[in-house]
Subunit: 113 residues, 2 copies
DNA sequence: AAAAACAATAAACCATGGTTCATTGTTTGC
DNA sequence: GCAAACAATGAACCATGGTTTATTGTTTTT
């Protein structure tokens, strides 16, 4: 599909898609038309973008997403891939814990105030 | 205490303290010396900075921290204050949920891969 | 066929959250 | 009393994560 359709279906802007592509998060192939150089974005980018949006919301950086996608794509040793992803998972869990502590503090402040 | 001591005890840089102060997160008073214009940072800033560090780590923005501190300082209606803080708590809980979902996805990817 | 919408590319721009630098003045340790 | 460390101020700088703005060319709509 073309970038506009992908953008609309994924709920992100075309500019964001291009930005992600520049940063290696998604990929496109040359379109089949000979008269233009429009790119074709395979269906799986839709799924990826949905994940990226959630993950970005959860505080995962672009760099981390790139690492994760590269690892999951199995470009290298699967054991290495697991390590990369597991490390990110641990970071995320730590972050969730941190949030829990902050929430706890704020709720105590509410009760105490 | 002076900025250097606060910085060291709170584990942040002096520049960060000045940045936070510019942004209304902490406050200082003029020092007692007549020969300089060094500021004095009351003890409670130490506690605040520890909270800010945790909260920033959890993804709370400077603007949110300012709102929260203003609300907790009880500058206005206590009911309003509760609302502000409760709203932030809800946001943080949503963020934690989001992280949980991302972690779940990544763990499934690990199991599936 | 002409206007409106879409696409590619590059560059500039923006907010956030700091950090670094330069300058000037103060205080402290030796 | 003199260098080293500390403080205040302001401005510049940096990374991150996008968004906006040309510019040029293509396609679709009417």
């Amino acid at each position: 599909m073309r970038i506009g359709e992908l953008a609309e279906r994924a709920g992100v802007s075309r500019a964001t898609i291009r930005f992600y592509e520049r940063n290696g998060l998604i990929n496109s192939v040359p379109g089949e038309s000979a008269t233009n150089n429009y790119r074709d974005y395979p269906e799986d980018n839709l799924f990826k973008l949905e994940f990226f949006t959630k993950a970005r919301d959860a505080g995962v950086s672009i760099a981390d997403l790139r690492d994760i996608m590269e690892a999951l794509a199995g470009s290298c040793d699967p054991a290495d891939a697991r390590d990369v992803v597991r490390a990110k998972v641990d970071e995320l869990k730590a972050r969730a814990d941190q949030i829990r502590r902050v929430v706890e503090f704020l709720e105590q402040a509410l009760d105490g105030g």
